[in-house]
Symmetry: C2
Subunit: 457 residues, 2 copies
């Protein structure tokens, strides 16, 4: 299946486009017109224009290339509209409507019709029952949700079984000043599911990490095989630990399945799993932004002991290790900070200080350390050790993460500066620790079997 025309179209039709604000056909159109290419509003019952584009009666009447059609139409007419799209040579379709396999037996039959028509015309169908997808770098807003025009472009691709969770993740990224490569809500996965999208975004040069939200699939093994084949690192969030089967089935028509089996399966196939949307995006960010770690050993530098203890505790619980630093590093730290509070691992400087960046560099170059996590409360007079962090990950070929908190107004500028240096920044000790542990698990799960990932400490 060719997803190129779905996710990288030249021309877009909005079927069911509407002039009535609040209607899905209006919202989808309002978003679609941001695209720098031809947009065709299709609605046989409307005359004139919407967003300055003239209404067209049918996709088959469109003169010009149209790769992608966004269907803001009721579920019962979807198979017919899809056939028209096929006749018009459309290659990708998004079906927003619910009322398919998730809803009833009748809906299941309707979805089967969608699958059959799509097969006949070789159309990639995203949905039904999805809020769509967004590619910020292409101004391609194939979602009917408001505010998606504010998403910034980045290097994490979100593949969520639920459109709502896809948007939750992307809006969360926006709140954190982070971009996304592509956000996709898969919905009922008529014929575009994880097995189709993962290879597509694995090959996407804009995507440096893929994060998955999984409720359940019919073929767990196929999903896992697909993940293993991906060169792009993947993090997965499998929901459904407790009994949410009935409600989940009413959602995207998928049972949530056995959580433990999925988690073990993902681990076996090289994919670390997480337990929240925040941890999912943070993990994707850490994987995308940094050189991939070659081992699970985390070096922690903290300017405050209490958060440092939280971090040390949490990393070790979550599959990371805190190796003892080499004597060389310990000596170097002792030279930088005679009488330092604690020079083990974590290294605790007691307070932020001008030499803090030097200590970070010393730990980063330590031969026992694969991953670096820095924590400090922001101090206005000192700011963050930007000079030390600039290019550090590349110099030491290890991921460098930063966790902090502080007075929002004054630290926000410094946080932006850190992000501009491609340093992942997290505003709690636990989020930093979780991201570091995720990197550690990634390293452990993807290490070649004949390679010893641990260092002897």
């Amino acid at each position: 299946m060719n997803l190129q025309r779905l996710f990288r179209p030249d021309g877009i039709a909005v079927v069911g486009a509407s002039r009535t604000e609040g209607k899905m056909g209006y919202e989808a159109m309002a978003n679609a017109v941001k695209f720098n290419g031809p947009i065709y509003p299709v609605n046989p019952s409307s005359d004139g224009t919407v967003f300055d584009e003239p209404f067209i009666d049918s996709v088959t009447d469109i003169e010009g290339d149209v790769d992608l059609a966004l269907l803001a139409v009721p579920p019962t007419v979807v198979p017919d509209v899809l056939a028209e799209c096929g006749e018009a040579g459309v290659g990708g379709v998004v079906v927003y409507a619910g009322g398919f396999a998730e809803a009833s037996e009748g809906g299941e039959r309707l979805q089967q019709q969608v699958v059959d028509v799509a097969a006949e015309y070789d159309i990639a169908v995203l949905g039904p029952n999805t809020s769509g997808f967004v590619v910020p770098a292409a101004d391609l807003l194939a979602s009917f949700a408001g505010g998606v025009e504010r998403f910034e472009s980045g290097d994490v691709t979100i593949l969520a079984q639920s459109g709502g969770v896809a948007h939750q993740l992307a809006f969360h990224a926006l709140r954190e000043g982070r971009g996304i490569a592509t956000m996709v809500g898969l919905g009922n996965r008529a014929n575009v599911g994880f097995e189709e999208t993962i290879p597509y975004f694995d090959a996407d040069p804009e995507t440096d990490a893929i994060v998955l939200h999984v409720e359940g699939t019919d073929d767990g093994r196929a999903l896992l095989e697909t993940c293993r084949a991906s060169e792009t690192p993947i993090v997965a969030y499998k929901v459904g630990k407790s009994d949410v089967g009935e409600f989940a089935e009413s959602h995207t028509g998928a049972l949530t399945g056995d959580h433990e089996l999925y988690t073990a399966g993902f681990a076996q196939y090289g994919v670390p799993t997480v337990e929240s949307t925040t941890e999912l995006f943070d993990g994707g960010l850490a994987l995308a932004k940094s050189p991939l770690p070659t081992g699970p050993n985390v070096g922690v530098i903290t300017a405050q002991a209490g958060p440092g203890i939280i971090i040390a505790d949490r990393i070790q619980q979550a599959g990371g290790r805190l190796p003892i630093l080499t004597e060389e590093t310990q000596d170097r730290i002792g030279e930088i900070l005679p009488g330092i509070t604690y020079a083990g691992n974590p290294v605790d400087t007691g307070r932020p200080m001008p030499a803090f960046g030097e200590v970070v560099e010393a730990v980063a170059t330590d031969a026992h350390v694969d991953i670096i996590l820095v924590y400090e409360l922001y101090e206005e007079a000192l700011g963050f050790p930007l000079a030390a962090l600039d290019g550090l990950a590349e110099r030491v070929e290890k991921p460098v993460l930063f966790a902090t908190e502080g007075p929002t107004a004054s630290m926000d500028e410094d946080c932006i500066a850190l992000r501009d240096l491609d340093v992942p920044v997290f505003t709690s000790p636990e989020r930093g620790a979780d991201a570091a542990a995720l990197l550690a698990r990634h390293a452990s799960l993807t290490a070649p079997v004949d390679q010893e990932v641990s260092v002897d400490v």
Copy 2:
């Protein structure tokens, strides 16, 4: 011990006050002068003024009332300075310096001297080895950290063993637009620890919930007994699940102890525990802002199924229950939204809509429901159901929580409106679920033994 003069002083001395920016004695002074009362900078080696206040040679030379002294002096001189404070009639002292019981045997002896002098003069000593405390409503900034003047006043009191964690929590509250009643970093707890501060803030009319960060104490049972005696609801975050003993001991001189024993102990004594700083403050906020729940049954209303599944899953994992709604409620929801996506629990409206608030009210009044959690992605055209939420918690005498995410710029105003209605707002499904589950655990743990907290569903 009288903590009133420590936490509600009339006059404040800053011993070791300095004109040199960046020095602790400068930072402590810069914060202290925000207080609306007499401030006395004390430093025998300085002449003239600092922040327009004339230097004084010794606390014993102060003419006027001085209840509280902030000691920005080296550790070795602390016992002598403390004795001078005693001679001057000071009732509360904050010792910022480290180098006491957390550092060495010599430090332990030094700390014992502090304890002895404090006992002789009946002085309440916060610290040593702390960054102090802050009472935003009183403009009382007894911390040397920058930015604490931005804390807003609220109703959660933070009692953290680590000053760094105290500040992490308070800055986090600031980031979320939330205030605090008092923030305290306990440090080495010379003679002011959990057992002294919990009863004090239990009696504090500004404090509606207390959140504890605990690394370890010598007398776990005394801590638990103190918690049980508190009428103000308490949430506890006990760190140290994995082996962080050596580093933790280097911090506040306390071993982290057995995590499981503490967690079980807290539960037995009516205190729900959490596993992160974010969850700790969120939990405190939920307890402080709402009528306390009388049972663990959560009614969830969601406008998007995917986040609703996450919430349902997580609440059930964390000690909450999702009861079936009464037939009456189900009928009412059916009348409000014929053909609703899912009318079980969670109630899933499929999308935000004008009737969303009515659905929330229907679930809130359900006899099976003790706690209400609402989730919806923000839609600009609809905003939040503010009218329905206004006073809802008081009308139904149940806590009402709200989880959401959306385009920051447009939703921030509506979030402020929600906060002004005293509705706790959380920007992820998991944070909302964790707070609801915390309330459920609080209800279960504090229910009278002869009262059945479950409803028959």
